[in-house]
C-alpha cells in the first residue's frame, strides 16, 4: 500500500512555526522530519513517523504556495487564498525576511548581482547555512533593494510600507540597501570583528547625516546616495591639519579639557596630531568613490587600531572625540563649523560603535 496523495487544507491556514523555521532554514522535507523526530516530537505527541511526515509535507506545500505571496507582503495581506489571522501574517512576513548574522556579514556591501549569487555556495560552505536559505536571504536583499532603490521618501518608511516589516527589521534592511548601494567594504580581515549591528548603526548615522535626505527631504534616492556636495566640501577641513597654528591651538584646547579626565592622557597628547590627521585625511579623501568604499577599513586602520595599541578604553575614545569636535568651535580661524559638525558627529558615533573594548 502506498500513499499516492495526501493533503490537509484548513479554512484557517494551519501554520506550525517550528516547521516554518525549518523550511526557512532551507531543510528538505525529509531533513525536517528527521530534525523534528530528533527534537522528540514523537514522544511528546505519541504520533508515528508517517503521521509526522504527512504533516511536514502539508506544511511544506503550504509554505511553497505562500512564498510567491511573501515576495510581495501587501499581496499576502489582501489575497483571498489563505485565510490567516493578522498576527500570523505578520509572523510569516517577519520570519521570511529575517536574515542570519553570519550570512549578512558575508554579503554586506557587496553588489547584489548575479555574480554574488553564484558565490553563495561558498558563503553557504563558510557559514554552515544551507544554500537554499542563503538564496532566500540574498533574494530578499535584492528584492527589497530593487523596490526601494529609486523611490522618493525615507528609506526605512519605504521598506516598511512595501514589505510590512517591523521597525527593527526595516532598519536592518535599510542598512543592507545602503551598504549595497555604496558598496562599503566590510569583508576585510581587519573588519571581521565587527557585527552586523555595528554596521547597521553606522548606516543609520550615515543615512541620517550624510545623504541628500539629510538636507533635502524631497529628492529621489535621498536616503540611498551620499550627498556629493558635502563630500566635495569635506576637503576644506584639511585646514585643521595643514595650518600649523590651528593644529596646535586645537591640540591645546583638547588637552586642557581632558587633562586628568582620561587614563591615557600622555598617549593622547603625543598622538594627537597623528589622530587628527587620520580623521581629517579620511574626510578629505571621501570625494573619491573608492575611498568611500574604504571608509570603515580606514577608520579601523587609521584611528581605531592606533588607539587600541595604546590601550584606550571606549570611554577614553568617547571623551576624546567629544572634546576634539567641540574644541574646533572655539577656533576662530576655522570657518567650516557646520561641515565639521556634520562630519564629526557621524564619525564619532561610528567609531564609538566600532570600538569594542
Amino acid at each position: 500500500m502506498a500513499v499516492e496523495l495526501d493533503v490537509f487544507v484548513g479554512n484557517t491556514t494551519l501554520i506550525d512555526e517550528d516547521v516554518y523555521q525549518l523550511w526557512l532554514d532551507g531543510y528538505s522535507a525529509g531533513d525536517a522530519v528527521a530534525i523534528r523526530i530528533k527534537r522528540g516530537i514523537l514522544e511528546q505527541t505519541g504520533a508515528s513517523p508517517d503521521v509526522l511526515e504527512s504533516d511536514t509535507m502539508d506544511h511544506y506545500r503550504t509554505f511553497q504556495m505562500l512564498e510567491r505571496l511573501l515576495h510581495s507582503p501587501p499581496k499576502l495581506i489582501n489575497q483571498l487564498l489563505f485565510q490567516t489571522p493578522p498576527s500570523m501574517q505578520s509572523m510569516l512576513i517577519e520570519k521570511y525576511y529575517t536574515f542570519d548574522e553570519p550570512f549578512v556579514r558575508e554579503v554586506l556591501g557587496k553588489k547584489l548581482s548575479k555574480g554574488t549569487k553564484k558565490d553563495l555556495d561558498d558563503v553557504s560552505a563558510k557559514t554552515g547555512i544551507t544554500l537554499k536559505s542563503c538564496r532566500r536571504q540574498f533574494d530578499n536583499f535584492k528584492r527589497v533593494f530593487k523596490v526601494v532603490e529609486e523611490m522618493k521618501g525615507p528609506l526605512v518608511e519605504n521598506i516598511q510600507q512595501n514589505f510590512l516589516l517591523s521597525d527593527q527589521l526595516a532598519g536592518d534592511y535599510a542598512a543592507v540597501v545602503f551598504f549595497a548601494n555604496n558598496r562599503f567594504e566590510t569583508g576585510k580581515r581587519k573588519l571581521q570583528y565587527l557585527t552586523f549591528e555595528d554596521f547597521a548603526l553606522c548606516a543609520e548615522q550615515l543615512i541620517q547625516n550624510w545623504t541628500l535626505g539629510a538636507v533635502d527631504s524631497n529628492v529621489d534616492d535621498m536616503d540611498v546616495d551620499l550627498d556629493r556636495e558635502f563630500l566635495q566640501d569635506l576637503k576644506d577641513l584639511k585646514v585643521l591639519i595643514t595650518d600649523k597654528d590651528l593644529l596646535d591651538q586645537h591640540k591645546s584646547l583638547v588637552c586642557t579639557a581632558l587633562r586628568g579626565k582620561v587614563s591615557i592622557f600622555n598617549e593622547m597628547e603625543t598622538n594627537f596630531k597623528n589622530l587628527s590627521r587620520a580623521l581629517i585625511n579620511i574626510a578629505a579623501k571621501l570625494i573619491h568613490t573608492k575611498d568611500v568604499r574604504d571608509l570603515f577599513i580606514d577608520l579601523v586602520e587609521k584611528y581605531i587600531e592606533p588607539c587600541k595599541s595604546d590601550h584606550w578604553t571606549s570611554s577614553d575614545v568617547g571623551a576624546f572625540l567629544t572634546q576634539y569636535t567641540n574644541a574646533a568651535r572655539a577656533l576662530d580661524a576655522f570657518k567650516h563649523q557646520a561641515l565639521w559638525e556634520r562630519y564629526m558627529c557621524t564619525v564619532k558615533s561610528c567609531i564609538l560603535k566600532m570600538y569594542h573594548d
Partner: protein, 1102 residues
C-alpha cells in the same frame, strides 16, 4: 455467527436488484446548443422583464502578467447574462486595473434570474491576435432574489481559470431590482428560501413543515460530447461548469415551484447532488423538506401559544403515551431489531424486480403498525396512532431531510431504514423527461416507506440519498430513521415558541456523572415536569426511545425492557438512528465516533453479470458492517448510535463499505452487556487459554472505555420512581459493582446464561482477525473527542475557536488480488485510522477539542486506488468550567438556540464600535502580542471581520492601507469568513441567512509535476475552492458559511501524461453572525444611546 449477532438497529436493508436492460443505443446527438439553452419547459405565459440585473466592474488586482515584454497586462472584462454581453474598456498596462465601469443593465425575466449565473470574464487585450482569457467568475444571483436578503452584493472575487487556478481578483458590484408581478402562471419560484441546514434555521420559526420535495434534471455531459474532441480542455471544463450551474439553478427553481404549490416558502435540509454517469449523462438531483418559515423578529412572536389553528385543536389528543404500562415478561429469546431481509442472499437479493419485494414487506407490516394498536391495552395510544396516520395519508413520501427537531416533534424513533438498488446505466434518451431516473428513486423511496411502516412508524426522518457509480453500474442508496412524529407539530408548529420552556433546563441532562447529580436531576425533572404540566415521558427525555411498534407483534425479534428513565414504556436494548441526538435526550457520559469498515473483492465483469455480482455482495456487506458497529458499540460500553451513515462505494474489482456514527449511552436504554468470546467446541487447554486472554482483553477495554467516556449510569432509584422491575434492578446492581471496582473483571464477564451477553464465536481464523481488529482500533488521544453529529453531548462550554478542514488521501493497493479479504479490510481500516491520527496530530494545539461532524467519503476512482476524503470541524472547549456554570449560554451555544431578542437591529453600531476597538488593537503591538501568546491564533476577532466588511466595498481601501504604519497594514481588505459543517457557530449568534451557496468547480492541469504532483495540485485546488466560497459569502455581506458540505471530490490523474483533473462540489448557507459577547455589548450600548437603526446590512454599499 452467534444467534445474537444479528440484532441491532438497522432494521431493514432491502436491496432491490432491479437490473435495467441496457437500452438500445440509438442516441441522437442533440448538439452543443443544449449547453447554451438547457432543457427548459416553455409552457405557460411568461412574464416579460420582471426584473433588472445591474452589474458594475470596479477594479482588478494581482492580475497575472500576460505580456512578457512589458511584464504587464491590458485587461478588460466581459459581463454576460443569458445572451447579453457587455464589455468594459481596456485598462492598459496594469496588473491592478481600475475600470470603474458604468452599471451594465440586463433586463431579464425571473426564471432566467434563477437559472442563469452572472458570468464575468477577464481578458487580456491583444491587438494582433485573439484576446487571451485570464479567468472567470460565476456569480449566483439567486441569493439576491429573496425579499429578505440583501438586494446587492459587492466585493472582491477570485478570478478563476480551470487550467491555472486563481489568477488575481476582481471587484464587482451586482444589484437586482425585482418588479413585483403577480403572474400566477409563472415558471419561477423567486423568493423561496433554500437552506442546507438540516434543522429549522436559527432566526426562523417553522409555522408548518409540509414535507418531502424532490426533483432531478438530466443532461448530456459536455465532457462526453463529440465536440469535446476538438475543443480545448478549458472550453470543455467551462462548458461543464456552466451547464451544471444552469442545471442546479433550474433544479432549484423547479423545487421552489413545488414548495409554492404545497403552500410553503422555504426548503430546509436541501441536499443537491450530481451523478456523473459518464457516457450516459449528467444527473442533478435534489431532496429537501418544504416548510413555511416565519422570521423571528421579536420576542413576542416566539412565545406565541403553540396551537394557533383552532380547527386543528379539536382533533388533538394529549401528547402522551399509555400511562398504565402492562407489566410484561419480556421474552428472553433473541433480542432486538433485525433486518427484514433474511440472510440467505439468494432468496431476497437476486430477485429481478423490486416491486415484489416491496409488496412482501408491505403486506404483513402495515396491519401490524396501526391495526394492532389496541392490543397493548392503551386506547389512547391507538387513537393517537390513527391520528398521526391520517395526518400522513396525503403524503406520498412522509420523509424529512431534517436531523434535528424542535422538542416534542419527534415522538418515537423506530430504527434505521435503508434501501439500496443496483442499476445499469444507459443513455438518457430524452433529457426533458428524466423518467427512468425518477422511477428508480421512486422505487427506493417506496421501499423505505414500507420499511418504516414495518417498524410501526409513519415517517422517516434524517432521510438522505446517495449514489456510487463505476462505469455503467450505479448503486442507489437511501436511508433514514423510521419515526413517529407529533402530528400537531406538523400541521401548525410554532415550534420555537413552545420549545422555550423545555430548553431552559435542557443542559442539566448532560454529564450526569455522580450519583448525587443524578439524584438532583430526577427530582428537578419531576418538579419541572409537573410544573409545566407535561407528560412525564416527554419531559424526562426518554420518550423518543420508546418503541413505536407493537411489542406482541414485533417486526423482528427484539429484546425489550422498561425504560430506564420513566419505567413505564418499553425500550429496545440498542437504538440506531441517522439523526442528531434529540435535544431533550438524557445522555450519560460522552460519545465517540464509531466506524465500521469493510472491503470486498469482486470479479471484474460487465453488464448484468456485474450488477448481479454486486447485488449478491451487498447484503453480506450490510450485515458485516452492522456486526462491526454492534461490536464496537458494546466495546465502548454504549447503547445507541446517532448520525449513522453507511456508504457503499463500487469499483472495478472491489466494493467498499464505510459506516460512521456517533456512539452514545442513552440513559433510557439498558446498559449494554459485555462481549462474550466463545471458542470452537472441541478444544484443548492452550486454546482455552487463548480464548480467555482475548476475553480478558475485551473486558479490560470495555472498562477502560467506560472511564474514558465517563459512562457511569445512574444507580436507579427504584423507590423514587416506583414500579421496580426485579430483572433490571439486578442488572443495574451488577453494573454498579463493576464500575466501582474496575479490577473486578469477573463481575463484568456475563456468562452464557445471561441473555444480554453478546457472543462472538471464534470458529475460524477470520473471526480471530475480526476480534484482533476490534481490539486494535486506536483510541482517541487524550484531550480529543470526535463525533459525526453536530456536537458531542456532554460538552457544553464551547469556546469560539473553530477550524474547518478537508483532508483527502489516495492509496494505491499493490496486488489487490493477492490480498485476502481480511488483509484488505485491515488495509482499509488502517487507512482510516491513520487519517484520524494525522488529524489529531495536526490539531493538537487546539486541545481540549472535539472533532465534530466528521464526514468520511470513500471512493474507488481506479482499479487499485482507494480515495478517502474527510471534512470536519474542530471546536475547542473550556475544560475547567463545569456545564452547570455555563448553563445560561449553553442554550444558545448548542443546537437549541432560541432567537428571540431584538439584537439584529444593532449591526450598524456594532460595526462602528468594533472598528474602534480593532484600530486600537492594531496600533498597540503589546496587545497583539498578548493575543497571540494566549494561544488564540486561530481565533478571529469579530472586530476584524466587521472592519474588513466595511472596507471591502471600496477598492481604494487597499491603497489607503498602504499609507499606514506597517502593523496597521495588516488591516486587509479581506473579510474573515468562517466555514463550518455545523448549523451554528459556537459563542455566536446568527443574525441573518443570506442565501444558499452551491458551487461546482473543475480544475485541470497538464503540468502536474510542476504544480507539486498530485498532492500539490489538489492542495491548491481545495484552498482555491475555500477561497471562492469565502469571497462569495463576503460579497453577500456574510461572515460565515454554516452547514458547509463538500458533496463531491472526484479526482482523476494520469501521471504518465503529467495530467490531472478534479471536480469539487460544495454547498452551505451563507450567514451573518455576531459574537455573543459583542451582542451583549452592542445591546447595552444601543440601549444607552437609545439609537434605532433599521439597517441590518450596513456593510453593503449599494
Amino acid at each position: 455467527m452467534g444467534e445474537d449477532a444479528d440484532r441491532g438497529g438497522v432494521s431493514s436493508v432491502g436491496v432491490a436488484a432491479c437490473i435495467q436492460r441496457p437500452g438500445s443505443y440509438s442516441f441522437l446527438f442533440c448538439g452543443p446548443w443544449r449547453l447554451v439553452q438547457p432543457c427548459r419547459q416553455s409552457t405557460g405565459p411568461r412574464a416579460t422583464m420582471p426584473g433588472k440585473l445591474k452589474a458594475r466592474i470596479v477594479a482588478g488586482r494581482h492580475l497575472p502578467v500576460m505580456d512578457r515584454a512589458s511584464d504587464l497586462t491590458d485587461a478588460f472584462v466581459e459581463v454576460k447574462f443569458g445572451n447579453t454581453t457587455f464589455k468594459t474598456d481596456v485598462y492598459h498596462k496594469s496588473l491592478n486595473p481600475q475600470w470603474n465601469s458604468e452599471w451594465f443593465k440586463f433586463e431579464v425575466d425571473d426564471e432566467d434570474l434563477q437559472d442563469e449565473p452572472l458570468q464575468i470574464t477577464v481578458l487580456d487585450h491583444d491587438t494582433y491576435s485573439a484576446n487571451d482569457a485570464i479567468g472567470k467568475v460565476y456569480i449566483d444571483i439567486d441569493p439576491l432574489l429573496s425579499n429578505e436578503a440583501a438586494a446587492s452584493l459587492s466585493g472582491w472575487f477570485p478570478i478563476y481559470d480551470t487550467i491555472h487556478g486563481i489568477r488575481g481578483e476582481i471587484n464587482v458590484m451586482v444589484k437586482v431590482d425585482l418588479f413585483n408581478d403577480l403572474n400566477r402562471f409563472r415558471q419561477s419560484s423567486c423568493g423561496v428560501k433554500f437552506f442546507c441546514t438540516t434543522s429549522i434555521p436559527k432566526c426562523y420559526k417553522a409555522v408548518t413543515i409540509h414535507g418531502f420535495v424532490e426533483e432531478l434534471v438530466v443532461n448530456e455531459d459536455p465532457e462526453y460530447q463529440w465536440i469535446d474532441r476538438i475543443r480545448t480542455p478549458r472550453a470543455s471544463n467551462e462548458a461543464r461548469q456552466r451547464l451544471i450551474s444552469l442545471m442546479s439553478g433550474e433544479l432549484q427553481r423547479k423545487i421552489g415551484l413545488k414548495v409554492l404549490e404545497m403552500g410553503g416558502n422555504a426548503v430546509v435540509g436541501y441536499l443537491q447532488c450530481f451523478d456523473l454517469e459518464g457516457e450516459s449523462g449528467l444527473v442533478v438531483r435534489a431532496i429537501g423538506t418544504a416548510c413555511t418559515l416565519d422570521k423571528l423578529s421579536n420576542a413576542a412572536t416566539s412565545f406565541l401559544p403553540p396551537c394557533s389553528s383552532p380547527s386543528k385543536d379539536l382533533k388533538e389528543v394529549p401528547f402522551s403515551e399509555d400511562p398504565n404500562p402492562v407489566t410484561h415478561s419480556s421474552g428472553p429469546s433473541t433480542p432486538l431489531k433485525n433486518q427484514t431481509y433474511s440472510f440467505s442472499p439468494s432468496k431476497s437479493y437476486s430477485r429481478q424486480s423490486s416491486s415484489s419485494d416491496t409488496d412482501l414487506s408491505l403486506t404483513p407490516k402495515t396491519g401490524m403498525g396501526s391495526g394492532s394498536g389496541g392490543k397493548d391495552g392503551g386506547p389512547l395510544k391507538a387513537l393517537y396512532r390513527q391520528q398521526t396516520q391520517s395526518a400522513f395519508e396525503h403524503r406520498e413520501f412522509p420523509f424529512f431531510t431534517l436531523t434535528t427537531f424542535p422538542p416534542g416533534f419527534l415522538v418515537h424513533v423506530g430504527g434505521v431504514v435503508s434501501a439500496r438498488s443496483v442499476k445499469l446505466l444507459d443513455r438518457i434518451h430524452n433529457p426533458d423527461e428524466p423518467e427512468t431516473r425518477d422511477a428508480w428513486w421512486a422505487e427506493i423511496r417506496q421501499e423505505i416507506k414500507s420499511h418504516g411502516k414495518a417498524l410501526g412508524c409513519h415517517a422517516v426522518v434524517g432521510y438522505s440519498e446517495s449514489t456510487s457509480i463505476c462505469e455503467e453500474v450505479c448503486i442507489l442508496s437511501a436511508s433514514g430513521t423510521a419515526a413517529v412524529l407529533n402530528p400537531k407539530m406538523l400541521q401548525d408548529c410554532s415550534m420555537e415558541g413552545c420549545s422555550e420552556h423545555r430548553l431552559s433546563r435542557q443542559p442539566s441532562f448532560f454529564s450526569t456523572g455522580s450519583e448525587k447529580g443524578e439524584f438532583d436531576f430526577f427530582l428537578q425533572c419531576q418538579d419541572s415536569a409537573s410544573l409545566l404540566g407535561l407528560d412525564d415521558a416527554s419531559s424526562l427525555g426518554c420518550s423518543f426511545c420508546h418503541i413505536p411498534y407493537d411489542e406482541l407483534n414485533m417486526p423482528f425479534p427484539a429484546h425489550l425492557t422498561y425504560c430506564y428513565v420513566c419505567r413505564k414504556q418499553k425500550v429496545p436494548d440498542v437504538l440506531f438512528t441517522t439523526i442528531e441526538p434529540p435535544l431533550e435526550a438524557a445522555i450519560t457520559g460522552k460519545g465517540c465516533l464509531i466506524q465500521a469498515r469493510l472491503c470486498r473483492q469482486k470479479k471484474k465483469t460487465q453488464g448484468e453479470a456485474n450488477a448481479t455480482a454486486i447485488s449478491n455482495l451487498l447484503p453480506f456487506m450490510e450485515y458485516e458492517l452492522h456486526t462491526q458497529l454492534m461490536n464496537k458499540l458494546k466495546l465502548r460500553g454504549m447503547n445507541a448510535l446517532f448520525g449513522l451513515r453507511i456508504q457503499i462505494a463500487v469499483g472495478e474489482n472491489m466494493l467498499m463499505g464505510l459506516a460512521s456514527a456517533t456512539g452514545l449511552y442513552v440513559t433510557a436504554l439498558p446498559a449494554p452487556g459485555g462481549i462474550q468470546v466463545a471458542g470452537k467446541t472441541p478444544s484443548d487447554s492452550s486454546y482455552d487459554q487463548h480464548i480467555a486472554n482475548i476475553q480478558k482483553k475485551i473486558n479490560d477495554l470495555i472498562v477502560k472505555n467506560r472511564e474514558i467516556y465517563e459512562i457511569n449510569p445512574p444507580e436507579i432509584l427504584d423507590e423514587l420512581l416506583g414500579s421496580p422491575i426485579p430483572e433490571t434492578r439486578q442488572r443495574s446492581r451488577l453494573f454498579r459493582s463493576h464500575s466501582e471496582s474496575s479490577d473486578d473483571v469477573p463481575e463484568l464477564d456475563l456468562s452464557h446464561g445471561k441473555k444480554d451477553a453478546f457472543v462472538l464465536e471464534i470458529d475460524d481464523t477470520d473471526a480471530v482477525e475480526d476480534i484482533q481488529s476490534l481490539l486494535t482500533d486506536a483510541s482517541t488521544p487524550s484531550g480529543f473527542y470526535s463525533c459525526n453529529t453536530e456536537v458531542m453531548p456532554g460538552i457544553n462550554n464551547w469556546t469560539s475557536d473553530l477550524q474547518m478542514f478537508t483532508s483527502v488521501r489516495v492509496f494505491r493497493l499493490n496486488n489487490v488480488t493477492s490480498l485476502t479479504s481480511q488483509g484488505l479490510n485491515k488495509t482499509f481500516s488502517d487507512v482510516c485510522e491513520n487519517l484520524l491520527k494525522t488529524l489529531y496530530f495536526k490539531l493538537r494545539s487546539m486541545v481540549p477539542c472535539c472533532l465534530c461532524h466528521v464526514n468520511f467519503n470513500v471512493a474507488l476512482p481506479e482499479d487499485e486506488l482507494i480515495q478517502v476524503a474527510v471534512t470536519a470541524v474542530a471546536l475547542t472547549f473550556d475544560k475547567d468550567q463545569t456545564p452547570y456554570i455555563k448553563v445560561g449560554t449553553d442554550k444558545t451555544l448548542s443546537r437549541a438556540s432560541a432567537e428571540n431578542e431584538e439584537q439584529l437591529q444593532f449591526t450598524l453600531e456594532l460595526c462602528m464600535e468594533s472598528q474602534a476597538t480593532q484600530s486600537t488593537a492594531l496600533f498597540s503591538p503589546a496587545k497583539a502580542a498578548d493575543i497571540s501568546e494566549s494561544g488564540h491564533l486561530q481565533a478571529v476577532s469579530p472586530a476584524i471581520q466587521t472592519v474588513a466588511s466595511l472596507d471591502k466595498a471600496s477598492p481604494l481601501a487597499e491603497a489607503h492601507a498602504r499609507h499606514r504604519s506597517p502593523i496597521s497594514c495588516a488591516t486587509s481588505t479581506v473579510t474573515v469568513v468562517e466555514m463550518t459543517p455545523l448549523s451554528f457557530i459556537p459563542g455566536a449568534k446568527i443574525i441573518k441567512y443570506l442565501g444558499i451557496i452551491n458551487m461546482f468547480f473543475i480544475r485541470e492541469t497538464t503540468s502536474l509535476r510542476e504544480e507539486g504532483g498530485v498532492s500539490g495540485f489538489l492542495h491548491a485546488f481545495i484552498a482555491e475552492v475555500f477561497a471562492m466560497v469565502r469571497a462569495h459569502v463576503a460579497a453577500l455581506g456574510g461572515n460565515a458559511v454554516v452547514s458547509y458540505i463538500m458533496k463531491q471530490c472526484v479526482f482523476m490523474e494520469n501521471p504518465n501524461k503529467n495530467q490531472a483533473q478534479c471536480l469539487i462540489n460544495v454547498s452551505g448557507d451563507a450567514v451573518n453572525f455576531v459574537k455573543e459577547s459583542d451582542v451583549e455589548y452592542a445591546s447595552t450600548q444601543a440601549q444607552g444611546s437609545g439609537l434605532q437603526a433599521g439597517n441590518g446590512s450596513g456593510d453593503i454599499v449599494a
